[in-house]
Amino acid sequence: MGYRVVVDFDLCESNARCMEAAPEVFEVRDDDFLYVLDETPPDELRPKVDEAVRRCPKAAISVVEE
């Protein structure tokens, strides 16, 4: 049982709060766009990913269990 990180890029406005919470997974680059570095991060990063979900002002990030 893993999980997948899904970003709705229509909602994302590169606030970069996710990058603060989980820099291993989310990166806003110098072009000001968000890149997901790892769509299926290891379980030990799950608390950080959940924090990123909570801290996104646009509720653009979700986690799908698979």
Binding site: R17, V28, D32, P57
Partner: protein, 411 residues
């Protein structure tokens, strides 16, 4: 998962908005499995306020889109909250550990989270004129929207703070004629400093807003419904709809006489602790920041989350043998969306000795500006430039010097 905190069998959260809900999530995540009662004066389940001056006000988002989501499996229901909505907390017995409710009931607690937020200031003497609004709650927003839907074309915004600025931007985008009346000579001067505040003023003018600075409101007039705003200089602005955004007052009235320290908010220690069994979070809470050497009260979304979570952990720590309470000392961050611009500020902009644009330019409305206090980097502001804000925010986080910040800017 940590073991459930012993002795924390019942928690009461006064305030059913962002800080309160995130506190409950954190309590449950930490294994607190006793009763949690959430008291909210509004009848609604927790919802997200930022869209009320933006997408929801514009009619772009439906109601279900602003419900506050819960990350845990099972969502809101899994938090097993005893909701007391539509009733306000009216008093607090600190020694007896109980919260009194407006309907005469009371709720006992082992731990209390004060998260009652803030209420908009009203313009004195505006009376009961229809078409004059403040904007804080969902019901406020629905009332403003109803006015717009009924054909209001001439919108007057009193106060050029963030709420006023966002309402002005949204109404312009909807095609209304918008006038902003600001008593101070610069919009957002207190929040961003005069130099950057002036840039925000230009942004409104770029977008066709009639921005009037340094003008007081003498009266809002009309026959039952607002018709015009009379200014202190005698001039008159015709209005179909008036939105007053002149700041908020922390909701501490219910704590009068409780013995808690109230001073522009409920005063916490550096760990969000207020009194035995009592913590506070969000707009209502004021705490000493070691990092910025000031008593802070922050009225922003991100702080409500972080402080709500911290306050929950503080309660748990109190009931966990050997746990050391940690200070709450964040670098505040907020954003504002106006027109097609995204504004973000991290750190502190008040009491700055210097403001310097280090990336882009204010003329192109795409830039990064740094705030200096003494020889330290105190804050960073960006407009449509989110990435550098992250780097500079980290520098603020670790107390970087101004020279380090300038070196980062040059790299």
């Amino acid at each position: 998962m940590t073991s459930p905190a012993r002795g924390l069998r019942s928690v009461v959260v006064a305030g059913a908005s962002l800080a309160g809900l995130r506190a409950v999530e954190e309590l449950r995540a930490r294994g607190v499995d006793g009763s949690v009662t959430v008291i909210g004066d509004e009848p609604h389940a927790p919802y997200d306020r930022p869209p009320l001056s933006k997408q929801f006000l514009a009619g772009e988002w439906p109601l279900d889109r602003i419900a506050l989501a819960v990350a845990a499996d099972g969502g809101l229901d899994a938090l097993d909250i005893d909701w007391r909505l539509g009733v306000r907390a009216s008093g607090l017995d600190v020694e007896g550990r109980r919260v009194l409710l407006g309907d005469g009931d009371e709720v006992a607690y082992d731990g209390l989270v004060i998260a009652t937020g803030a209420s908009p200031r009203e313009l004195p003497g505006t009376g009961d004129l229809a078409g004059v609004h403040t904007l804080r709650t969902l019901d406020d927003c629905l009332a403003v929207r109803a006015g717009l839907d009924a054909g209001a074309r001439r919108v007057v915004v009193v106060g050029a703070g963030f709420i006023g600025s966002e309402v002005a931007a949204t109404c312009r985008t909807l095609g209304c004629d918008v006038t902003i009346l600001e008593a101070l000579p610069v919009p957002l001067g207190r929040a961003l400093g005069d130099e950057m505040g002036a840039v925000m003023g230009e942004l409104h003018r770029d977008n066709g807003v009639d921005l009037r600075l340094g003008v007081g409101v003498a009266a809002i007039e009309g026959d039952g419904r607002v018709e015009r705003v009379r200014l202190a200089d005698g001039s008159v602005v015709e209005a179909d709809l008036v939105v007053v955004g002149i700041g908020v007052t922390p909701n501490t009235g219910w704590l009068e006489g409780s013995g808690l320290a109230l001073d522009d908010g409920v005063v916490c220690d550096a760990t969000t602790w207020v009194a035995p069994g009592v913590v506070a979070a969000g707009d209502v809470a004021r705490w000493p920041s070691h990092r910025f050497a000031e008593l802070m009260r922050v009225e922003h979304w991100d702080n409500a989350i972080a402080m709500g979570e911290h306050a929950a952990r503080r309660l748990v720590a109190e009931h966990t043998p050997g746990a050391q309470p940690e200070p709450y000392d964040p670098v505040p961050w907020f954003w504002s969306d106006q027109y097609d611009r995204k504004i973000q500020l991290a750190g502190r902009s008040s009491a700055a000795d210097e403001v310097r644009v280090v990336d882009g330019s204010t003329d192109e409305r795409r830039f990064v500006a740094l705030y200096r206090r003494g020889d330290r980097l105190a804050g960073v502001l960006s407009m449509n430039r989110p990435r550098p804000l992250v780097s500079f925010r980290r520098l603020v986080e670790r107390g970087a010097s101004w020279d380090e910040a300038l070196a980062e800017a040059a790299s």
